[in-house]
């Protein structure tokens, strides 16, 4: 029994849950929560099974990639399952597969969806390492967030609807991950966009939330234009949209070679069709993953509840763009060298294709750009949002620098620690009674110790403190960048520096010092010196909670003082923290070779360990930390409530605080154009209206005239006249019948006279000659 045969259950469980939840009534919150969590757990179980399947490697559904491994002719297509046909694997190949470690597992299950004459539109599911690891990540992180939400959204009166949307989102995201068809991926892509829209504007009665939900949807839609052009182009060139179809899929060598061989020019820039298509597809990823310049929606998306921010805008949905680039990587990195198809990622000294170059630069710019803004934000979630944006830039940078494994690795690790950070911030917000301004927090280390610990773990992973998961993944990316483009590498290092800086700033503002909001409770809060980057021992998740927590439970206000969150809220945090710490060891080169590398893409070339890069990256992080500590360590917020850095940077601070005025620029240009067009068209519409009114007025006028002339005068009048005439004639004639016989006889007499005269006239020849006689 193979998991691929049941992989369709994974998106189905949450979808069914969402369907059932749609019919629940508002008070049935617990039922709704149960359905979501049950569905997600079931999906997790099946995902683990799928993951297990992929661990074996071995059985292969497609011909080997042209990286030197020769396949015995005619023995490819082992164990194909396409609508039922099963072939036995050729014995030589099985032998080869067992021996080789360079073959990735890939199982597909394709089925025809729409039949158009002789041509079928097929959809399908795929189970390969990338899918499997994403499945596990999404289901696990999702499950943790769902559990967290039961506490966080438990009091909200619309919780039923919330979990329904969450389930729907989970179904869409999982569907996106398992799809073997670009069209199905796109459909799920749009569905996650819809769920994002619904969940950002969950509190739709808030005007800011309503604005944010529209902005998110429209901005991602703009990106989707490019995506769709890419899909259409790809379909036109390939004739199919299946990824893996026994050699005929669009990601398989036959098709990719065809695309890479054809060249086209785009406004003077020469590139292969595969790169051009890839760039179009990437535009969609730019929208979905909030790359510059389509990043503007992500910070505003923080209007949604914190679990939403954690799940959608940190771990999964925004990662869908990165995932899509990863999935379509064969098209991104394909080029024709000496008449042979070459995938850049398999080369030891990779040369990025135009598409990958584009991706890399966009990613790098985004990473630095977002990080600079994150430095000057005061809302705890905004900082994390910009951090997400920046980290997505890192991922794109990694992918673009021919670091496929690095980028995907960072995607997975980032999901865990960013979700952890967001949930932690949710705990903070919840504990501070829905206060989100960092200037009014502080001293929460003592007040919410567990939250502090897990948040610290997340922060360390994010900045790349050694031996955390983020350390290894970020290092891989920088390594790939180093080997590809030094400028990009420098930008990445700068981004790492900024990341450390603003995260340290956030830690100091939120957890250190004294509580600045509401009234104090007499707790002593002193600046807690954080672990230095050198210490290697990770802090285990804290089991002992302060006296606070044992008594305090959710909803029990303590006179305005922040309090720790209840167990069912910090347990998911703890679980995520474990992964944030330990996941890194999957991808480290020190342990058993790079496990991650072997698992995900054994055919891609691995870079050797470069201590210099590692040192530079770590050093940048350390410098960031120290600088931030120097500025914010003593007092995170000045007496007048302003930021200590503000006075030092002055105008630059204002620029950063206002997000480089990107929103305002957009408002003045794009949105303005839109408004002008709308006003123009409204004018056209008004003139059309006016024309219609004029026409109708003229029509009414004509019809009245016609009614008066034609109907009244001619027809009525005519008919009346005729009828009057007939009546008159009739009455005239009836007067003949007077009832008086003598009148009748008189008339007869006259008639007789007339007759005689007529006869005489007619026979005049007869008697004329008698007249003379």
């Amino acid at each position: 029994m193979r998991a691929i045969d049941y992989i369709w259950l994974i998106p189905l469980f949450p979808l069914v849950a969402a369907g059932l939840q749609a019919f629940l009534k508002r008070p049935q919150k617990r039922v709704s929560m149960f359905l979501s969590i049950a569905a997600m757990t079931a999906a997790l179980v099946v995902s683990l099974w799928a993951f297990k399947d992929t661990l074996g490697g071995g059985h292969h559904d497609e011909p080997a990639k042209p990286n030197g491994k020769e396949m015995p002719a005619g023995s490819h297509a082992a164990e194909v399952r396409n609508g039922g046909a099963k072939l036995k694997p050729a014995p030589e190949y099985e032998e080869l597969a067992k021996k080789s470690e360079h073959v990735t597992y890939r199982a597909t299950h394709n089925f025809p969806w729409i039949t158009m004459g002789a041509h079928d539109l097929k959809l399908g599911f795929v189970n390969d390492p990338m899918t499997a690891i994403m499945l596990v990540m999404v289901t696990f992180v999702g499950l943790m967030i769902f559990i967290f939400s039961t506490g966080y959204m438990g009091e909200d009166e619309n919780a039923t609807r919330f979990f329904c949307f969450l389930s729907l989102f989970a179904a869409s995201m999982l569907g996106l991950v398992v799809s073997n068809n670009l069209l199905m991926l796109f459909m799920c892509w749009e569905l996650v966009g819809l769920c994002s829209y619904l969940l950002i504007g969950f509190w739709y009665f808030k005007p800011s939330a309503a604005e944010a939900m529209k902005k998110a949807f429209i901005t991602t839609r703009i990106g989707d234009i490019g995506f769709f052009i890419g899909i259409l182009w790809l379909y036109a060139k390939s004739g199919t949209l299946l990824f893996y179809d026994n050699g005929a899929g669009i990601l398989e060598d036959a098709n990719v070679a065809k695309l890479a061989a054809e060249n086209m020019s785009f406004f003077g820039v020469y590139m292969s069709v595969s790169s051009a298509i890839a760039i179009c597809l990437f535009i969609g990823a730019m929208g979905k993953s909030a790359q510059f310049p389509l990043h503007v929606w992500l910070p505003d998306a923080m209007e949604g509840p914190t679990p939403v921010s954690a799940l959608i805008h940190a771990a999964t949905m925004v990662a869908a763009g990165v995932f899509m680039v990863g999935r379509m990587y064969p098209i991104f990195d394909a080029s024709i060298v000496d008449g042979q198809l070459v995938h850049a990622m398999t080369q030891a000294h990779p040369h990025p294709t135009p598409a990958l170059t584009f991706v890399m630069w966009v990613g790098a710019i985004t990473a630095v750009f977002a990080a600079t803004i994150g430095v000057a934000q005061n809302d705890v979630k905004r900082v994390l949002a910009y951090s997400t944006c920046s980290q997505l830039g890192f991922m794109m940078m990694g992918l673009g620098a021919v670091g496929f494994v690095a980028g995907m690795f960072h995607l997975i690790t980032h999901a865990f620690f960013k979700a952890l950070l967001f949930l932690g911030s949710g705990a903070v917000i919840h504990g501070c009674h829905h206060e989100q301004d960092m200037a009014r927090m502080g001293g929460l280390k003592k007040l919410m110790p567990i939250t502090f610990v897990v948040y610290l773990i997340g922060m360390l992973a994010l900045v790349g403190a050694p031996l955390t998961s983020g350390f290894f993944s970020k290092d891989e990316i920088l390594l790939a960048a180093f080997h590809t483009n030094r400028i990009v590498f420098a930008m990445g290092v700068f981004g790492a520096f900024l990341t450390a800086f603003y995260m340290t700033r956030q830690m100091y503002m939120v957890f250190a010092g004294e509580y600045r909001g509401g009234d104090l409770h007499g707790h002593d809060a002193h600046a807690h010196e954080k672990h230095g980057a050198q210490a290697g021992t990770p802090v285990p998740p804290d089991d002992g909670h302060g006296e606070h927590d044992k008594r305090d439970d959710h909803g029990h206000s303590h006179g305005g003082m922040p309090h720790e969150v209840p167990k069912h809220m910090w347990m998911p945090l703890a679980a995520l923290a474990v992964f944030a710490l330990l996941l890194g060891f999957l991808g480290t080169p020190f342990i058993g070779g790079n496990l991650w590398h072997h698992y995900l893409a054994p055919e891609s070339a691995a870079h050797d360990v470069n201590w210099m890069v590692m040192g530079i990256a770590t050093g940048a992080g350390l410098i960031g930390f120290l600088l931030s500590r120097a500025i914010y360590g003593k007092r995170a917020v000045l007496a007048d409530g302003s930021d200590p850095l503000q006075s030092k940077l002055g105008g630059v601070w204002t620029l950063l605080n206002n997000k480089w005025y990107v929103d305002e620029i957009y408002g003045a240009t794009v949105v303005r154009v839109n408004w002008i067009c709308a006003a123009l068209f409204r004018g056209v519409d008004a003139s059309i209206d006016w024309t219609l009114h004029a026409i109708s007025w003229v029509t009414i006028g004509i019809s009245s005239i016609w009614r008066w002339v034609g109907d009244e005068f001619l027809i009525n009048g005519g008919v009346d006249t005729v009828s009057e005439g007939v009546r008159g004639t009739g009455s005239g004639f009836s007067s003949v019948q007077s009832g008086k016989v003598q009148n009748y006889l008189r008339i007869v007499g006259w008639g007789a006279v007339g007759l005689v005269l007529v006869v005489l006239f007619l026979t005049r020849e007869h008697w004329e000659h008698w007249l003379s006689k």
Partner: protein
């Protein structure tokens, strides 16, 4: 011959005119009887003596009396004066009568050449009349007999009904 014709013609015309124009209806009836006599005389000048005799018998004897009786039975209480005809009516009537006379006279005058062209005249005796009636015209005779019977019955029925009801 000429004198006889002219005399009887004048009598007939005068009788007819008086019958049609006199106010007193009894006088009208008497004038009518004069007229009938005039016609009978004209028949005599035409050598149709039997017809003349029948004319006197039937018209003067029966029809005239019948008319007189009818007049007497339908008299107004106030007198023999009936309602007066208007001058308009008279003029119309004269006009119609005049038109008819002139039309017929024109036709006759036009044909007078042919009419005047006589070859012979016929005479006959009553014996001949009887023989013809019984041989050639027996069918019309019988039909007329039936007709007379029907007329008689009808007249009695019409005139009698009221009489019976009154009883």
């Amino acid at each position: 011959m000429t004198f006889a014709f002219c005399f009887f013609a004048v009598v007939s015309v005068v009788g007819a005119v008086c019958a049609m124009t006199l106010r007193n209806v009894v006088h009208c009836v008497l004038a009518a009887i004069l007229f009938f006599f005039g016609i009978a005389g004209l028949f005599v000048t035409l050598h149709a003596e039997f017809i003349a005799a029948i004319q006197v018998l039937v018209y003067v004897g029966a029809v005239g009396v019948l008319l007189a009786l009818a007049i007497l039975l339908t008299r107004h209480i106030t007198g023999t004066e009936g309602p007066k005809e208007t001058m308009k009516k008279w003029s119309r009537g004269i006009l119609t009568g005049g038109a008819v006379f002139f039309a017929l006279a024109a036709a006759i005058w036009i044909e007078k050449g042919w009419l005047a062209k006589k070859t012979a005249v016929s005479t006959g005796s009553v014996r001949q009349l009887g023989e013809v009636m019984m041989e050639k015209f027996v069918l019309p005779l019988e039909v007329v007999a039936v007709l007379l019977t029907a007329a008689m019955v009808g007249a009695i029925v019409i005139a009698m009904e009221e009489f019976v009801k009154k009883k």
